[in-house]
Amino acid sequence: MKIGAIAGITFKEAKRDRVLYLLFFFAALGIVASRVLAVLTVGDRIKIIKDVGLASISVFGVLMAILIGTGLVYKEIDKKTIYTLLAKPLHRSEFILGKFLGLVLTLLVMTAAMAVIFLAIVYAHTARVEGSLLVAVAYIFLELILITAVAVLFSSFSTPILSSLFALAFYLIGHLSWGLELIIKKMRPGTGKALVRALYLVLPDLENFNFKTEVVHGLPIPPAIYLSSFLYGVCYTAFILGLAVLIFRRRDFI
């Protein structure tokens, strides 16, 4: 109930943010422009549309999560609205979870709207509703949930600009860390390999949520991969949120 009230107010606040609509506009533009790109490209046009469309949903979704998420908690502290909230019988963890869920709800609405535009563009080209594309969108959304948790974590102790940089770094590292897996395979056993393996375990691997290639090219994906990616997302998000709660609980609001 209390978490729901905080989530509701966060959703109301987020949907007032102009940045959200600006990013949505560019995402829609990217998805629509994929048709133009397809015309200019040699090869399978529909694959270009799907590739560019999914990439637009992913990139602009991440920007929404970072740019809005990093200001969420900070704004409450900066504008001192938090004084009124925490003076109520509210656990600090409920506040963090409410903020997180409010933004997740906002992103759900935005991702759904982008997905509708995307499916419409694909339909206009193929005259078919391709439900399999929604699998890729669902995993993009799972990634957005994790990025939102990261944004909320940084927002609970840092300024929006720094938090945005940290969250963006997390996103970039998350999409490059799979390279470590290749290095591990090529390294000889020893301390070095163990260190790189430990580093790979600590760093996020956001490629776990990337099913774009498989979906666009119609490649089979074993259910176990879906499940492990889902569990990875849930566990990592829970870990980051736990960390955010831990930091937030220790804070003094001067």
Binding site: M1, Y83, T84, A87, L90, I254
Partner: protein, 305 residues
């Protein structure tokens, strides 16, 4: 019966600045607020009043000491169930209307829909915001925000109301209305803990006060025990006689037209002045004994400390 608030040996140190410098803000605060009291918490700027309130509400973690609210430790969110709080400069979500904001705060207490609507309507009437209830809060004046703040502090029908400078930014009529509301709380059996710089208001409505200076409680007690009935001096306004007439009897503060304002410290000399005015055919315009006020005690205490 447990005290509404009990604070014992509360200490808080902050490390602030680019090169962190440690500063002890609260240096062992101890006091208690009994149930049903109106308790005034006074102190100059930076004395530690707001820090004490923030510790009480769990916004700041004390370094040492204990705080209980109706016997429950402050750290438990349940301790805030019977509590309503109005911050110093109320900051709310300015895109919400007062009605929406009150509904949101009611949700944080888990009020049912029927109870919530009835209470919101009653509170809007109590603070005089019925007509502005559906305007966004960003269109409110400071005084109106203060009223909205008071309404949200009462949404859970609290047994304890904590008000940080509730009279700041209010016009004289608004101040009187808020004062009346605070007095009504007492009649309803609520406990009120509040800070204010407006000492006349505190003197008018408080049962007990504590004065904090430099992070320490330097005076605490019932208002009647602190403020004596002793006459400090008597102000006498006389017309139709020159100031020299009263030489040696009192201090001539001002002479305007044919009127003279005298300040007489010796009570015995007041009768002498009155007799002199009568004998010399002057006119006695006003005579007012000035007793000790809370302001005198406050200024003396702060200056001495």
């Amino acid at each position: 019966m447990a005290d509404a608030i009990r604070i014992e040996n509360l200490r808080k140190r902050f490390r602030l600045g680019f090169i962190p410098k440690s500063r002890e803000i609260l240096k062992g605060i101890t006091f208690a607020v009994g149930e049903g009291e109106i308790f005034g918490y006074l102190g100059p700027n930076g004395a530690g009043k707001t820090t004490t309130i923030k510790c009480l509400l769990g916004l700041i973690h004390p370094d040492a000491g204990t705080i209980t609210i109706f016997g429950r430790p402050y750290s438990s969110p349940r301790s805030r169930e019977p509590l309503g709080f109005l911050p110093e400069n109320p900051y709310f979500y300015d895109y919400l209307t007062a009605r929406e904001f009150l509904a949101f705060t009611a949700d944080l207490f888990g009020l049912g829909r029927g109870e919530k609507d009835e209470r919101i309507a009653r509170l809007l009437k109590l603070v005089g915001l019925e007509r502005a209830a559906d305007l966004p809060l960003r269109k409110y004046s400071r005084g109106m925000l203060q009223r909205a703040g008071l309404a949200q502090a009462l949404v859970n029908d609290p047994r304890l109301v904590v008000l940080d400078e509730p009279l700041g930014g209010m016009d004289p009529i608004g101040r009187k209305e808020i004062r009346d509301i605070i007095v009504r709380f007492k009649d309803e059996g609520k406990t009120v803990f509040f800070t204010s710089h407006i000492l006349q208001d505190i003197e008018m409505i408080c049962d007990r006060v504590a004065i904090i200076v430099g992070g320490r409680i330097v005076k605490e007690g019932g208002l009647r025990d602190l403020v004596s009935e002793k006459v400090l001096f008597t102000e006498v306004t006389v017309a139709g006689l020159p100031p020299q007439t009263f030489a040696g009897l009192g201090e001539s503060v001002s002479a305007r037209g044919d009127r003279v304002l005298l300040k007489i410290y010796d009570e015995a000399k007041v009768d002498e002045v009155v007799g002199l005015v009568h004998d010399r055919k002057g006119r006695l315009i006003a005579l007012s004994p000035r007793t000790e006020t809370l302001e005198d005690i406050f200024v003396e205490t702060v200056t001495r400390t």
